[in-house]
Symmetry: C2
């Protein structure tokens, strides 16, 4: 069966409507027996041998022709389309005339399993990229990201904007500390500071500890609340933070403060390669649940390399924690996109 | 008990030799009852209250005084020293006069459990850094890295230079392909290319596949061996690689080629956030063992942020694979430092 390109679609007549649309969910009906196929659908039909040619082109030539310098576009979209079809899903392009309320930030609508384009509900709005296409963090949330890697396997990431909610209530007592290098030491601290508030870490193992060491973000946050005093005043802690960490210190401090203000307890995520691991509700360190999320602090305008995203999300999944990103915006606000692996 | 600083050490007399050295493994004997303590040992004795002061300074003042602008130095060394002591190890500084053959790239020698500085064997040569100190990849290998994070917990990384050895023998057949965007398509490939050589990936799911897609590194590697021909010749593949990936393409291609030459089969590590996952011996894709290592390709001169290292190593550990780095040098050679978590 032959087909031809028209206005960014591929038009095919003959038995196409019955054979491709009605029976197998490809394309959108035009008049009579004609249907319009999205380029990716036409590529799939060419690949399977159901279409012989489009404007005389075979599969490889057609893919090359519609690529239009969009290095990762059609290749990745074709691979994703083929992958999802092989898993038994019907799909439609996210375009006016194809689905109701198409999404600008998505490429493919994936219908619920068992449902088809004629009135079916959409399960995933999928944005397709290749593994070499950077993804601005600000565009994550309420979309499923499909990443076609260099070998053509497709990985799916569900993105959301749920943030982190906590239920910890703790009013830190007044304490005195001393700034030592890139830490603050609190000699003979009130027990509740660590045991209930989960601030700091006992020095030298718990048994022999009689000092608590606070990280600079913990210390700066306590100092801002007026709970911690150090020689030189609160500003010396933040100055030290900027000296050893640069701009990232203020970014991390803002995220730390926002989490504590929401009743979430952040502790270092170093062992997970993250900025923080977080606890939803701490009543006592003796009786601590596992941390629920790993938080990476991102500067305004951050764009992920897909491989970087895969690393964060795989790691978080492996330790059964959510991967959450604290994305600063230009005005100093924070949004909280989260990303998880999903297998459609 | 009082002590005083002298030539970068802390000298203490009285019952010090018997009490600190003979009974508890601190310091090195001078004449008579005197011993010399390394600064970190003196800090530990001050912290525990076994020493009252050094030149009149208490623990915090002493730590501050010996810090000498070395932001992560003494704080991290003290925390590591205290951590290892609390785990029951004896330690000595890696210095002439303290241990035989001190290592320049290490800070602390850790004796085998149950052995002490008087003739004991060294279990770990530990280099101590803070989590904000970048580590040149070229310095990894045959040293244990101790990273004190911002909350004072210490993470240990064992580093080696074992490389990756393989036993795969496969001589790829001559095939023809076509360059499509950032992939190469091989229509109707000989079955052995994928099934025995583990080159490429069937397009569109295995059942319906009649084409193999090769990644650009696979294709370029096959083309260099004279096994793959494409319209335009082998150079067009490498050109495309450089267009879509820049310098990293040549780096990754060199690493891919070196692994294949050693009988190791590299496949994409995208799902693990790595460049490659590797198989030691592939005889058939039907009968594939798990991949053994994850490989990250690093440019010459790369220095790790410790948190980045924690991320790679944690991820690899979680999926029971070795974390191996392919480090290019300025002459185009490759060295293979590997890193693993270790709990002393």
């Amino acid at each position: 069966m032959e087909a031809r390109r028209r206005d960014g679609e591929v038009v095919v007549g003959g038995h196409a409507r019955q054979q491709f649309h009605d029976a197998r969910g490809y394309g959108r009906p035009l008049g009579g027996n004609e249907i319009a196929l999205a380029p990716v659908e036409a590529a799939h039909l060419l690949y399977r041998g159901d279409l012989d040619a489009v404007d005389g082109m075979d599969f490889a030539d057609f893919l090359d022709a519609i690529e239009d310098g969009d290095a990762d576009g059609v290749g990745a979209r074709f691979l994703t389309y083929a992958d999802l079809r092989s898993r038994g899903f019907y799909l439609a392009p996210e375009r006016e005339g194809w689905i109701a309320d198409p999404r600008e930030d998505a490429d493919l609508a994936v219908y619920e399993r068992g449902e088809d384009p004629r009135g079916g509900a959409v399960a995933y709005h999928v944005r397709v990229i290749g593994e070499r296409t950077a993804v601005p963090a600000a565009t994550l949330g309420n979309v499923t990201l499909a990443v076609a890697d260099e070998e053509g396997s497709v990985t799916y990431f569900e993105t959301a904007r749920e943030g982190i909610e906590g239920a910890t209530t703790f009013d830190p007592p007044a304490v005195e500390g001393v700034l030592l290098s890139d830490r603050v030491l609190v000699p003979d601290p009130p027990e509740e500071l660590h045991e209930r508030g989960f601030y700091g870490q006992p020095v030298g193992g718990r048994e022999e500890a009689d000092s608590l060491q606070l990280s600079l973000v913990e210390a700066a946050s306590l100092a801002r609340r007026g709970s911690l005093s150090v020689p030189g005043g609160a500003a010396t802690i933040e100055d030290r933070g900027r000296t050893v960490e640069g701009e990232r210190f203020d970014q991390r401090l803002a995220v730390y403060g926002a989490l504590r203000a929401d009743g979430v307890v952040p502790k270092t995520g170093f062992k997970f390669g993250a900025d923080f691991r977080t606890y939803r509700e701490v009543t006592s360190v003796e009786d601590l649940d596992h941390s629920e999320a790993l938080v990476w602090v991102l500067p305004a305008g951050h764009a992920f390399e897909p491989r970087e995203l895969a690393l964060y999300v795989r790691l978080a999944g492996g330790v059964r924690k959510r991967a959450v990103f604290a994305l600063r915006d230009e005005e100093g606000g924070i949004s909280w996109p989260s990303v998880a692996w999903v297998t459609p």
